[in-house]
């Protein structure tokens, strides 16, 4: 007599438990599906699918899960980029300009000195080196498109456009140089301004791997030479060139010191 209702109850409990399990599984799989769609589209190359779904995918992926996995792909860099810094300071009332300080070499040394816990300063300096090189090539292409000669005086509108595009990077670059400037001036000097040159030194191609790599000879005759987009011939060595010159930037005393 009692067996039938108990069986009915247990059957009911089993069905309810199964339904609950299915609901939970559906919720979890929905989350997984949304994540897979958003991240899948977010990291996809620029194809028609990406263009069609980029907006909803990025709305989910970018705020918390922004990512890019082109680790030395599709091709590793073909050149080393370095920042060379000049510091202008007054000492005992006389204005001096420092020798060129290889800031990139300094931060690289700081990294290799602690190979198991290298500080990320290299990434900071390299970020601006890469950005300025990319911008220099983009500006050069733009100049050719408008038939503007880069080795002559730039038209005001073009110079203004170039300055506007670089404004934020240049402000931050000035702060990076300011943070490192005390290392380029003697103790007791009052630093006035800083200037950075981004130098590109091509790597030795694999086909020429047995040739001896040339060391660039750096010779900046006039520290007040005007800033140009691309200055071939300022730095010696095969293919080595200055791809960016910040010009003199005012020294920012407020930024925390880098001391590479």
């Amino acid at each position: 007599m009692e067996a039938a209702p108990r069986a009915a109850v247990s059957h009911h409990v089993i069905r309810r438990t199964a339904a609950r399990t299915n609901v939970r599984a559906a919720v979890v799989w929905a989350v997984i599906a949304v994540y897979a769609f958003a991240v899948g589209v977010h990291v996809m190359p620029n194809t028609a699918i990406r263009r069609a779904f980029a907006r909803p995918a990025n709305a989910v992926a970018v705020p918390l899960f922004a990512q890019r996995w082109n680790l030395f792909a599709p091709a590793p860099p073909t050149a080393n980029l370095s920042t060379l810094m000049l510091v202008r300071y007054t000492l005992h009332g006389v204005v001096h300009t420092s020798q060129l300080v290889d800031l990139s070499a300094k931060v690289r040394r700081a990294s290799t000195w602690r190979p198991w816990a290298p500080p990320r300063l290299v990434r900071v300096v390299s970020k601006y080196n890469v950005a300025f090189e990319e911008q220099a090539w983009a500006d050069e292409r733009e100049a050719f498109r408008h038939n503007i000669r880069l080795n002559a005086k730039l038209p005001a509108w073009f110079a203004g456009e170039v300055a506007r595009r670089r404004a934020r990077n240049l402000t931050e670059y000035g702060r990076v140089l300011s943070a490192a400037a005390p290392a380029g001036a003697p103790a007791g000097a009052a630093i006035m301004s800083v200037r950075g040159l981004v130098v590109r030194t091509p790597l030795v191609p694999f086909a020429q791997r047995h040739s001896k790599p040339q060391t660039a000879t750096i010779a900046l005759a006039d520290p007040d030479a005007p800033a140009r987009l691309v200055q071939p011939g300022v730095v010696g060595g095969r293919g080595t060139m200055v791809v960016f010159d910040s010009g003199w930037l005012s020294y920012d005393k407020g930024v925390a010191e880098m001391a590479p």
Partner: protein, 303 residues
């Protein structure tokens, strides 16, 4: 499909190992930037903007910045040692804040660590290698919201590591230096990553071509290999690749984070089996107990 996220908790050992490795990776990040913390993350940093909401934007003075930065270290250390969802959330918030303050100093490994830290909030990361792990394992309930969340997090983290390798591998496979086999020679000349001067070794075509192509094959083949019998050796090869990158390119934090992603792809049985092969001083107490309780292999009585 439903079975993958329902039922008992899966990959508990992998989640615990991932927690320890991600925590160590985050500690490595904080400590390697310790001497320059004010310059890269502080209120007087070189950066004039933040990427998103961050606790560092609340730190307007050097003293309050020091508090936030050191809280990040404490959260990462506590997450590494104890695990668990609240500590995973605390670490994820602190690590995200560092990223939002300055994404420039995050390499690929830190990016993976930042994403994995968020996903691991849903996972049970303290069922092994944490104080009270045994008691916690005894109280795990299958088919609860907790188990669904944990198993879902394992699937998400597995998917994420597949995205990393597939995306990186496919992009490499479209680049001529990777196809020609000279990419590693090129990378070895980059001064930003010149921790070991191994360019002369890579001028040898017999060395550089197989090494370069092996990286592409490992990365592109990863999503398929983890569904086959080749899973364990493939994952071991990927782990070895990251060890090589850590030594030659100085990307130590990258290795810790990627090893964490690889650990989550291994089942509990595979990891425990690997644990039994370790010398006894490196074996966890759980593995040693499991070995002790196993029935001794006695010969059958003669009849």
């Amino acid at each position: 499909m439903i079975r993958r996220v329902s039922g008992p908790h899966v990959h508990l050992v992998g989640a615990a190992i991932a927690r320890v490795l991600l925590g160590v990776g985050a500690l490595h990040f904080y400590l390697s930037n310790y001497s320059h913390r004010a310059f890269v993350l502080g209120p007087h940093s070189y950066l004039t903007h933040t990427r998103g909401p961050t606790l560092y934007s609340l730190a307007h003075s050097p003293a309050s910045f020091e508090v936030v930065f050191h809280l990040g270290i404490v959260a990462a250390a506590a997450f590494t040692l104890f695990g668990g969802r609240p500590l995973a959330a605390a670490h994820a918030v602190m690590f995200w804040s560092a990223y939002a303050r300055n994404p420039d100093i995050f390499d690929g490994g830190d990016t993976f660590g930042r994403i994995a830290a968020i996903i691991l909030i849903a996972a049970i990361t303290n069922a092994y290698f944490a104080p009270g792990a045994k008691r916690r394992r005894d109280h795990l309930k299958p088919d609860s919201w907790s188990s669904f969340a944990h198993n879902g997090a394992v699937v998400l983290l597995g998917f994420q590591i597949v995205v990393v390798y597939l995306s990186a591998g496919l992009q490499k496979a479209t680049g001529s230096p990777w196809i020609a086999g000279s990419a590693l020679y090129q990378i070895s000349q980059l001064r930003d990553y010149a921790f070991v001067h191994w360019t002369p070794l890579l001028t040898n075509r017999a060395v550089v071509v197989p090494l370069t192509n092996a990286i592409v094959v490992l990365e592109v083949g990863f999503p398929i290999a983890i569904w086959t019998r080749a899973r364990v050796p493939w994952i071991a090869a990927c782990a070895l690749m990251h060890a090589g990158i850590a030594v030659t390119m100085g990307l130590v934090g990258f290795a810790f984070n990627m090893w964490a992603g690889l650990a989550i792809c291994l089942t509990d049985e595979e990891l425990i089996r690997a644990g039994t092969r370790l010398p006894s001083r490196f074996r966890s107490r759980a593995v040693q107990r499991r070995q002790r309780t196993r029935a001794p292999a006695t010969p059958a009585p003669l009849r």
